[in-house]
């Protein structure tokens, strides 16, 4: 059973590469963006925003149960699969082609970095040269100041992780924003914002203490830039790919 599954994945990957090349010939960046929008409107309700919400299917990584060619995928998107929860969808063939192009581009972007990176080397860089554990925690080791990365490979896509390493300020999720308060005596406290309201603010400060402040007691307060440095120029392309591969490999700890 295992060897059969492995064979299927290999075949799927080979054909996906061919399909990807085909769609790359015809799909423009606009088509892909349009396809992404259509995917989110039509498909994401069941398949999830990353296409991996249905067990055994990961559309974002090119893992399909049945269809392997672009044309087969277009057919399934439009006509559904009889006797399964996959319904027919009221989308034109042109729209379906764009959705397929989007999925192919997603899989390509994941493979482009993940395929060239080495997770073991990435871990060495994460723990050593990158000093990532100074702010990040993986499976109970490292600082809590930045986001816990123990299962980041399950919740973020490769392309997003690559962007976070090379251009971290481009997108900061609401749960990862930094905040600075200045007390009336001039002391400043900076930390990851956990919660705030009209009268109070709650942070995890740089000493990993949970801190709560009453705004009336502060001289100043507000959002602060992310302390996450860009590793563009600090890591070469291979090193960055290694780190991203390591991050992709983080799926959470196995239960005892």
């Amino acid at each position: 059973m295992r060897s059969a599954s492995a064979f299927f994945v290999l075949v799927a990957a080979g054909l996906l590469a061919a399909g990807g090349a085909l769609s790359a010939q015809h799909a423009t960046a606009f088509d892909i963006e349009d396809g992404g929008r259509a995917f989110r409107n039509t498909c994401a309700n069941c398949h999830g925003p990353d296409g991996d919400q249905v067990a055994g299917i990961d559309l974002g990584r090119g893992q399909f149960r049945r269809a392997l060619t672009d044309q087969e995928l277009v057919g399934i998107i439009r006509n559904g699969i009889p006797n399964t929860p996959m319904p027919a969808n009221n989308v034109s063939e042109a729209q379906a082609v764009k959705i397929v192009a989007y999925l192919r581009s997603l899989a390509e972007s994941r493979r482009s970095v993940a395929a060239t990176g080495d997770a073991a080397r990435g871990k060495s860089i994460f723990d050593g040269k990158g000093a990532c554990a100074a702010c990040h925690r993986v499976n109970g080791t490292g600082s809590r100041l930045g986001p816990d990365l123990s299962r980041i490979g399950q919740v973020r896509r490769t392309i997003e992780l690559e962007q976070s390493v090379l251009d971290p300020s481009a997108e900061v999720l609401p749960g990862n924003r930094f905040y600075r308060v200045t007390l009336k005596d001039g002391t400043t406290v900076t930390g990851r914002l956990l919660n705030h309201d009209t009268f109070t603010v709650q942070l995890l400060d740089s000493k990993e203490q949970l801190r709560s402040f009453v705004k009336a007691d502060l001289k100043d307060y507000g959002f602060a830039p992310t302390p996450m440095p860009s590793y563009k120029g600090k890591l070469d392309a291979q090193e960055a790919a290694d780190v991203v591969s390591y991050l992709v490999s983080l799926k959470g700890r196995a239960t005892p």
């Binding site: 040269k129 000093a131 554990a133 100074a134 925690r137 109970g140 600082s143 809590r144 100041l145 816990d148 123990s150 956990l194 919660n195 309201d197 109070t200 709650q202 995890l204 740089s206 000493k207 990993e208 203490q209 949970l210 709560s212 009453v214 700890r253 239960t255 005892p256």
Partner: protein, 539 residues
């Protein structure tokens, strides 16, 4: 690079300062600003050494904040407080970290119990344990979770028993040295009770004790036939720990089926008992069975309260126990020796003890087709709500009921015990409502002298109570009840000092902590947690 390394070292050092070591938990009475385990200390005395709130100023207490949980379940948890951060549980199994001064949320961790999770009496949780920077929670689908106290991240998740077989966990875990100990509920559904210890770092199981002995083990012959396999004896309330003997103490629940003992003849060990287990190995050192062959659902899952007292003129290390069966006990906690037992409400199922402390049963006081008047009724004199012992007054404080009721069985044969079904295995029984009038059913808070088990005073409520009791070093007692009041009494006289209407049933025990020199006292009521303190400037 160097700077980053230094930063990391500094961060690690800062983190270490906040670690809740086991030594801190053992010496929790030396840091009265915190509340480090379910009943404050591992002796479960639910006694706060704080003295800012006194009998003289309690009348000035004011509400400081309310935290409303997003849950319609009963709020039974007692919070922990560690250095200004309050941790509690939103039923069934969400862990919440709050600022203890403002009640604002730092983080929430949500656990989604398995769809087959079943509990007899509400999807509830009574609290957390902490060790180091890690919180521990048992779940209604019988998992034990470790959650990072700073970030709310899951550290590990261990399945203790199968929720498909009706196991669940509703009580606060107990930390002993490097282990986390929990027991499993489900005694009304035909489980075989468990107390188990897990490595606090990894979640790996270290030992497991079955509250019903298996074949070949002493006590298995106290069950007829195969009734031991589904005999209940669940564990669903907090345990205690005595470092001197390295014993951990757990109360066990009813045998199953609850009200029908015809297919489980014998004493049904170790149901309705307290078991003393070696904390390192889980080996049974002693047990005392409060209600042998129980057919009245008298779970002995009350919180064991330990104290070093002068008993009959001699220093004695005791365990005090106000039982659901209407009898109050004082045991020697080193040996399990029965020292004293006395009904503290109207009791008609037993009439005294033999020389070993075994209750003498009153014939006929079992369920019958014609109906039997049983005192106390199914809910007992008290149930799971945590009592208090004040080393200051030397008295044992219990909130309990006075009531009677009729228990009737229907039919001639008990139902078969079913496992893996939604059917409970309580037996065919028709429980008549207890009489809910002033004459027959009311709640009280009473102070008992452990030397005599005679009440020193009583504070009477109109309705029954599910509230716990807190006492403080300034001789103030806090409790609440089903009527939706939270109140303060003088711990020496029982005089009412203050009350607040909290708008919902009190189904939990109060606790106290301080931040910045200001003492707070909290109570959960309805679906919310309330914090009170004296007005600024009046401390």
């Amino acid at each position: 690079m160097m700077a980053r390394t230094c930063l990391l070292v500094l961060l690690a050092a800062a983190s270490l300062q906040a670690q809740v070591t086991f030594d801190r938990i053992l010496g929790a009475d030396r840091e009265p600003q915190n509340w480090l385990s379910y009943s404050g200390t591992l002796f479960n005395q639910r006694f706060s050494p704080l003295t800012q709130i006194t009998a003289a100023n309690a009348k000035n207490l004011q509400l400081q904040w309310v935290w409303q949980s997003r849950s319609l379940e009963k709020f039974e948890a007692t919070a922990l407080v560690v250095d200004g951060v309050l941790y509690t549980v939103q039923a069934p199994n969400d862990v919440v970290a709050l600022d203890a001064v403002t009640g604002r949320v730092f983080w929430t961790y949500s656990h989604q119990p398995a769809p087959d999770a079943r509990t007899c009496c509400g999807r509830v949780n009574r609290g957390l344990a902490i060790l180091g920077d890690t919180l521990y929670m048992g779940t209604i689908d019988a998992h034990l979770l470790a959650i990072d106290a700073k970030s709310g991240s899951l550290m590990w998740d261990t399945m203790v028993a199968s929720s498909a077989q009706r196991y669940s966990i509703t009580h606060s875990p107990l930390v002993v040295k490097d282990k986390v100990i929990v027991g499993t509920a489900g005694g009304d559904m035909g489980i075989r009770g468990i107390v188990a210890a897990f490595d606090a770092k990894t979640g790996k199981e270290v030992w497991r004790f079955h509250t019903i002995p298996g074949p070949g083990e002493p006590g298995n012959d106290s069950w007829s036939g195969n009734s031991w396999m589904t005999g209940g004896a669940g564990v669903w309330n907090a345990g205690a720990y005595d470092p001197e003997t390295n014993l951990t103490f757990w109360g066990t629940g009813n045998p199953a089926p609850d009200w029908d003992g015809r297919n489980r003849l014998g004493d049904n060990l170790y149901s309705d008992s307290v078991v003393a287990l070696d904390a390192d190995t889980g080996k049974l050192k002693w047990h005392y069975q409060f209600t042998p062959h129980d057919e009245l659902d008298y779970d002995s899952t009350q919180v064991p309260v330990l104290a070093d007292i002068t008993f009959r003129g001699q220093p004695r290390k005791v365990m005090m126990w106000a039982n659901r069966n209407g009898v109050m006990y004082v045991l020697d906690r080193k040996t399990g020796e029965f020292l004293l037992g006395k009904p503290y409400v109207k009791v008609n199922w037993m009439d005294g003890f033999d020389h070993k402390g075994r209750p003498k049963r009153v014939p006929g006081k079992v369920p019958t087709p014609e109906g039997t008047l049983i005192q106390p009724h199914v809910h007992g004199a008290t149930n799971w709500a945590p009592p208090s012992f004040s080393p200051k007054t030397g008295w044992f404080y219990v909130a309990h009921w006075e009531n009677t009721g009729t228990i009737v069985t229907e039919g001639l044969s008990p139902r078969p015990v079913g496992v893996n079904t939604r059917q409970t295995t309580m037996g065919q029984v028709n429980l008549q409502q207890f009489y809910n009038n002033d004459e027959e059913a009311y709640g009280v808070v009473r102070a008992y002298d452990p030397n005599t088990l005679e009440p020193k005073w009583e504070y009477r409520m109109s309705d029954i109570t599910w509230g716990g009791v807190l006492t403080t070093a300034s001789d103030v007692l806090f409790s609440g009840g089903k009527e939706g009041y939270f109140f303060a009494l003088d711990a020496r006289t029982g005089e009412l000092l203050w009350k607040a209407s909290v708008g919902g049933q009190v189904n939990a025990g109060p606790m106290s902590y301080s931040v910045g020199g200001r003492q707070y006292v909290t109570i959960a009521a309805g679906s919310s947690l309330f914090a009170y303190a004296l007005p600024q400037g009046q401390q």
